[in-house]
């Protein structure tokens, strides 16, 4: 879907056109759920549903700057961080796990998930946006609503924590 078509769908959905909203959901639900599952684990689908409903209520506020997927990630990340702020971080339970990446593909995936789970929430979100989703630093800063310098600091910490994953992986 090109940006023009997407903007038109958003405009129609903002006018309470459910068919247009359904088309947007079908395009964006899978990547959004994948992002949130890696960010929030088992809560991913629940957060994705919450995010899409929040977006439905706030469609009129999307000004068409950046892409719609980025706007959804901004809502999703804010909701995730809000949820985590209300409860104690669960990262300590995984602190003792080995995050060096084994060569086997499935084990590597597990090692990546463990390494991500050990990161503080904001660093995890930044790592996913930059490395897994391929957003630029400025896009990630806009999504997380932080200054670019702050984003780069968070990214540096995330990078440092994830470097052990690269051990044993051919460049």
């Amino acid at each position: 879907m090109n940006p023009g078509e997407e903007a038109e769908l958003v405009r129609r959905a903002a006018g309470d056109d459910l068919a247009a909203f359904a088309a947007l959901v079908r395009v964006h639900e899978a990547p959004l759920r994948r992002y949130l599952t890696r960010l929030a684990g088992d809560e991913g689908d629940d957060l994705a549903q919450e995010t899409l409903l929040a977006a439905w209520r706030a469609l009129g506020q999307w000004r068409g700057e950046g892409n719609f997927g980025g706007w959804l990630r901004a809502i999703a990340t804010r909701r995730f961080l809000d949820r985590r702020r209300r409860r104690r971080p669960q990262t300590q339970a995984l602190a003792g796990l080995d995050v060096a990446a084994p060569c086997d593909g499935r084990d590597r995936r597990i090692a990546i998930d463990r390494a991500l789970a050990r990161l503080p929430e904001r660093e995890r979100a930044v790592a996913l946006l930059l490395f897994a989703e391929g957003h630029s630093h400025s896009e990630a800063a806009a999504i997380l609503a932080v200054p670019l310098g702050t984003l780069k600091s968070i990214a540096a910490r995330a990078r440092l924590a994830l470097i052990p994953l690269l051990e044993g992986v051919a460049p």
Binding site: E29, Q49, L52, A127
Partner: protein, 109 residues
């Protein structure tokens, strides 16, 4: 190794194939949005109705106030026409206005 090289290697490591769409999940979200839309419309209608009824209440109260302030004239006979400025005629006019406000059809219904 530079930061850009590390980022590129991390990106390669963390890249995943495109996630499969889940039509049941999408349908569920759209159903929730439909419910939300119905609820919002019902709420808008309820607010509009409360507004109209508040207006009607003000009309009735104004009637009482005006009737209480008007001097009572001589009692009209059975065949006499009611003067327009009489309390009874004013009451009838205000009652008509009240009925018109309350029964005005809502554009949403």
């Amino acid at each position: 190794m530079t930061d850009d090289e590390i980022d590129a290697r991390l990106a390669a490591l963390m890249a995943e194939p495109a996630a499969a769409p889940d039509p049941a999940f999408a349908d569920h979200v759209v159903a929730l949005a439909r419910f939300d839309l119905v609820r919002r419309r019902a709420r808008r209608r309820a607010f509009a109705r409360v507004g109209r009824e508040a207006l009607a209440l003000v009309a009735v109260l104004a009637t009482f106030v005006l009737l209480a302030r008007l001097p009572s004239g001589p009692a009209a006979g059975l065949g006499d026409a009611l003067p327009l400025a009489s309390p009874a005629m004013l009451g009838v006019i205000l009652l008509g206005l009240w009925a018109a406000v309350v029964n005005r059809p809502s554009p949403a219904t």
